[in-house]
Amino acid sequence: MRIDIHPILQFDREREISFLYNGNKIKAFEGETIASALHAAGIKVLSHSIKLNRPRGFFCGIGKCSSCLMRVNGVPNVRTCITPVEDGMVVESDVQQLPSAEFPGSNKEDISVDILVVGAGPAGISAAIEAGKRGVSVLLVDENPMLGGQLIKQTHKFFGSRKERAGTRGIKIAEELEEQVRELEKNGKVKILPGTSVFGYYGGGSSHMLGAANKMSNVMYHINAKKVIFACGAQENMLSFPGNDLPGVYGAGGVQTLMNVYGIKPGKRVLMIGAGNVGLIVSYQLLQAGVEVDRVVEAMPRIGGYSVHAAKLRRNGVPIYTSHSVKEVYGKDRVEGAIVAKLDENWNFVEGSEEDVKCDTVCLAVGLTPSARLLFQAGVKRDYIPEAGGYVAIHNMEMETSVKGIYVAGDSSGIEEASTAMLEGKIAGLSASISLTGRDSSTTAKMEEYIKTLEEMRRGPFGSKAREAKRKILEEASNEGI
């Protein structure tokens, strides 16, 4: 299941290690996560649902869905998809009893900082760089072991203009961003904590209190920040159909993480649900990884993603069925196939149009929902904006929310793209810095430049959704006096 040769990527598997999984020794390579190493070893059932005892498999791969919780070295409820595997680790699945009462107290550390940035995707890193350059102290926290958010799995070249690095692969952009923020770290401007989750917001006022933890190194952080920028990204949407919880049904982004970050194939043959850009891009990347794609089905009558992405798939022999969806996925403990059927104008399945697709993997690429729970806990004004992907924080042009000193950027503020996430990050970083150090003509000019570029990027028919989402958000912000 490990990919050895790949047209775009190289996987260095330098050090072989082993760990114990339910008492059995499993081989892994340094750099893999526990769940990816288990996947490579053919273990696809990672847990069972508590009530009905249904098997659960890898779904999101980025710590958002909880289907991979296990006990690791005695620590309960560890998300194994974002926890790097270590030599000699003891991993146990389906441990239903409560942990011992003597769970060792954690090491506490207090951190006071000017600006806390939660999430080190393109938005968060850009915010940290922008603020770090301006002489304020910055703490950048991400619960994944690697910096870069979704960019670290995007092997395709980006669109846009040369200035926004068009024609460059996402993985390369992630490397460049990481280099820049590491440089600021070296100079003591930015402190970076990977593998650390921010788990709660505990009150504000002149500064904000938040809790964060690195479970595996058993450290808990009490963070006191003058300003907070939330750049937590998004989580993949589920679709309801019988069998949607079978191991082998993955989020498309989860599959991308598995194959492009860890070099592990999700299966042999895939059914892709959704022909937006994510579905089209991930299907093409599956082909590059040597995985067959049976077809792409799309409920809408038209392909939602760029036609150039669709064309790449078609000329490689992958059919795209619009006005089609999945009726059910079947199999015992894992996906063995799926029934797809045609939809009529009223979104009902057309009787007799069913087709049995033999596959071991079903990928859902049916949209994303902003991750904004910490913002809501902090009490920001929010609203349901369908074009943004769900509930989002209302924010002004400079990315500040209704709670003073709390900012939002990237997918967390409405689903969009890496290019716009980077700009929103820069704007949030700049506006948080300005609120600490004051505004002058050069910061005003910079701000204007960023906002103008952002507006330019949202022009054109494919930017219409984001444009509408942001229009509603900004209008509401101005009504609320934010």
């Binding site: 150039v308 669709a310 022009r459 054109g460």
Partner: protein, 156 residues
């Protein structure tokens, strides 16, 4: 709704087909017809043969200016640019290729159309490996297939 929006395959009617004269010199054909925010092809062209009203408009190639150098094809993130050149008996097609194994010069491969169907054989004339891993492969195919062949399958 346009047919390609349903199928993902653009038809020959949607492409500005160059004249025989232009094709004999060899020109870039941009199979990129939607309004998407993208323009690296414009910047890549050394002779300014590609123009665009603004970043969202589809590219327009001045076939009389284009030299067929394929630099635009190498950067295009949509892998949507093909260089076509007519010879006496055959057509040379340069296409972006991102799969393994890479074909080798002189190798016989299968020529595929826009729907991935085999439409004949192709002989690999040139393989240019790029630093960013998108290779440019030039194959020769039957002259009649010049506007049909857009992919290859390595038969090894």
């Amino acid at each position: 709704m346009k047919e390609y929006e349903r199928t993902g395959v653009i038809s020959i009617e949607e492409i500005r087909v160059p004249s025989e004269e232009q094709l004999k010199r060899g020109v870039a054909i941009t199979e990129c017809i939607q309004e998407i925010p993208c323009n690296p092809c414009v910047d890549a062209c050394p002779v300014n043969a590609i123009s665009m009203e603004d970043i969202n408009s589809p590219p327009f190639v001045d076939y009389d200016r284009c030299t067929g150098c394929a630099q635009c094809a190498a950067v295009c993130p949509g892998l949507a640019i093909f260089v076509v050149k007519l010879e006496d008996e055959s057509a040379l097609i340069t296409l972006p290729y991102e799969f393994l194994p890479l074909p080798e010069k002189g190798e016989e491969v299968e020529a595929l159309d826009r729907e991935g169907r085999g439409v004949g054989k192709a002989i690999v004339r040139r393989v240019v490996k790029k630093k960013d891993n998108t290779a440019l492969v030039t194959v020769s195919v039957d002259r009649k297939l010049a506007m049909d062949v857009r992919n290859i399958r390595v038969l090894r």
